[in-house]
Homo-oligomer: 340 residues x 2
DNA sequence: CTGTTAGCGCGTTCAT
DNA sequence: ATGAACGCGCTAACAG
């Protein structure tokens, strides 16, 4: 381990001078700067960030704790976070919880021990535990995508209610009346709010709500697959399916395909979140897209503002609008038709 | 920031005693231990790992630098790494390079500054630069999946030559003679070795090698899609396609589907790496599976052995066998048939 | 069983 | 323009 002292010796200066060169701080004559830089190069010296951080009481590191790193939605959010962070010379530690409570708590503990300057968290469950743990250490925190009840905390999220409403509005306008809603866990706000948007749209347009058409599962492909199979067993089949997120949608499409049910001819499908076209063979889905990149970017800017001492209220709820993109996965039907 | 000193004051002991409690080291009477633990709980004290690491000259952190975190192959490898690491009380920093040289170098620099104890690296390119940077700092390193020429470095990887051979052997046994090979970049050993296995099998069984059937691209879905379109434009179409990895295979299937070419009736497809069935609608692919989890696990155990001072040779090449899994994506053809 | 001293690598403060 | 002393939070080595 070569330290700042080794460089100093080689360059014939004091350690502090090396420090000044490294950090571009204070006065250093051009000549000594050259000598120091030569010594650094020769020794292949790399500053010890542990020591620096200890001294600065600052790691310049943000934590991004997401629920499913394999989902393109989150990788896009991640890019937004990284871009915003690097703009301010912060780096990002990416952690994946798989929606698992224990994993989440482990990571948070670890990140706290490492003096992470701020947290971006996609809460895997809706209790204040983790959030309070972070807040009680005085570490700034911004939640992503999901609200958690009973805590004062900033959130940046997509408009789940509005996006769901848009999609259902669209389906109803095409004549659909029996629309299945297959979504994530009931304990996550992103799930329940999409259901809320679904119900609001139904109410607004006078469509009766059949509770058996609303199924909570997981935001995963296999869950979408299973829920679709449930739906297909119903005596009065829906004419359309609303997938609560992109991965559920993939499962839906697969189950429909296996059952030989054509989209959109035999059933219409819409989905929350976009889904890279490459991931699925056919058809191109009609979706409500959240601004994933912006979500990451804005949340990070808010977090950094808090880190830099701006006194903000700690209970902001920033809701990003969704965009309805109509593609080819839906078909108009006559109000009385059925595919049962 | 509450420090060890605050806890010590509250408990009426010296800081070192708190340290002993935290680390379960040395002798502490049950009674003082209780007092200290009470103080820790009351103050919600979390030890500063930066300071600990500085003192220990050890961070208990491994870096895992992968090329594409969205690929299930790498998430599986990651699980293997995490399991092995946590068994020895190490934590893992996961970084994603997107096969990008600059990103890789940035991460490595960052991780070096943070005194990472060891590196697991999937090299995004085949020059010694990054590797030597790590080695020159005396930090143990194990490469994953790919070899890099002109350096002495340990590698744990799947048997690309053997796996490719198995797949081509199988296709040839079904009567195929014109087999397209769509794979990753020419500068990665995992690509070129799969081509080598392809050629070996062809030679062994007396199948003529048509260079125009071998296409190098990227290990991505869009690349698989594009390469397939190239193939389909050929005057003498192949009867089978060998996808160099799972993501390329998805692109292949999508392109074939769009072109209305049925698998396996009109063309056979095999692929290196498995691919979760949920990701693709149809058909179930015949594949050569690498033991992804084991790859991560074994590489980590090797890395930890090196970290713990076992003098190992630094040029181990651990090759894990692949397994041929025959599913429904191939069809036997008569040797003279063609689909052109 | 517990405490004191010293130092990990670095940068702020204050001299020079 | 450069350096010495000190301390960030923690623990190894040694006392007691």
């Amino acid at each position: 381990m070569t330290s700042i002292r080794d460089v100093a010796n080689k360059a014939g200066v004091a350690p502090i001078t090396v420090s000044r060169v490294i950090n571009n701080a204070g006065y250093v004559s051009a000549e000594t700067r050259h000598r120091v830089e030569a010594a650094i190069a020769e020794l292949q010296y790399i500053p010890n960030k542990l020591a620096q951080s200890l001294r600065f009481k600052k790691t310049s590191t943000l934590a991004l704790v997401v629920s499913d790193i394999t989902n393109p939605f989150w990788t896009t959010v991640t890019r937004g976070v990284e871009d915003a962070a690097s703009k301010y010379n912060y780096s990002v530690m990416l952690c994946n919880t798989d929606e698992n409570r224990a994993k989440q708590n482990n990571y948070v503990r670890l990140l706290l021990e490492r003096q992470t300057d701020g947290f971006l968290l996609v809460p895997a469950y809706s209790s204040p535990e983790t959030i309070e743990a972070i807040q009680s250490q005085g570490v700034p925190l911004v939640l992503l995508d999901r609200r958690v009840p009973d805590v004062q905390v900033d959130v940046v999220r997509g408009d789940s209610v509005g996006g769901a409403y848009q999609l259902i509005d669209y389906l109803i306008s095409l004549g659909h009346r029996r629309i299945a809603m297959l979504t994530g866990p009931e304990h996550l706000s992103s799930s329940t709010e999409r259901v809320r948007g679904y119900k609001q749209a139904c109410s607004t347009f006078g469509v009766e709500i059949d509770p058996s058409l609303i199924i909570f599962g997981e935001f995963r492909q296999d869950s979408g697959f299973d829920m679709t199979q449930q739906i297909l067993e119903m005596s009065a089949r829906p004419t359309a399916i609303f997938a609560g997120n992109n991965f559920i949608a993939i499962g839906v499409l697969k189950a429909l395909h296996e059952a030989g049910i054509h989209v959109p001819d035999s059933i219409s499908v819409v989905c929350f979140d976009d889904l890279p076209l490459m991931l699925v063979i056919d058809p191109f889905l009609t979706v409500a897209v959240q601004p994933a990149y912006d979500m990451g970017y804005q949340a990070t800017e808010l977090l950094l503002a808090k880190i830099n001492g701006e006194q903000l209220s700690d209970n902001r709820d920033i809701i990003l609008p969704t965009e309805l993109i109509i593609r080819q996965s839906c078909r108009a039907i006559s109000p009385n038709s059925t595919h049962a």
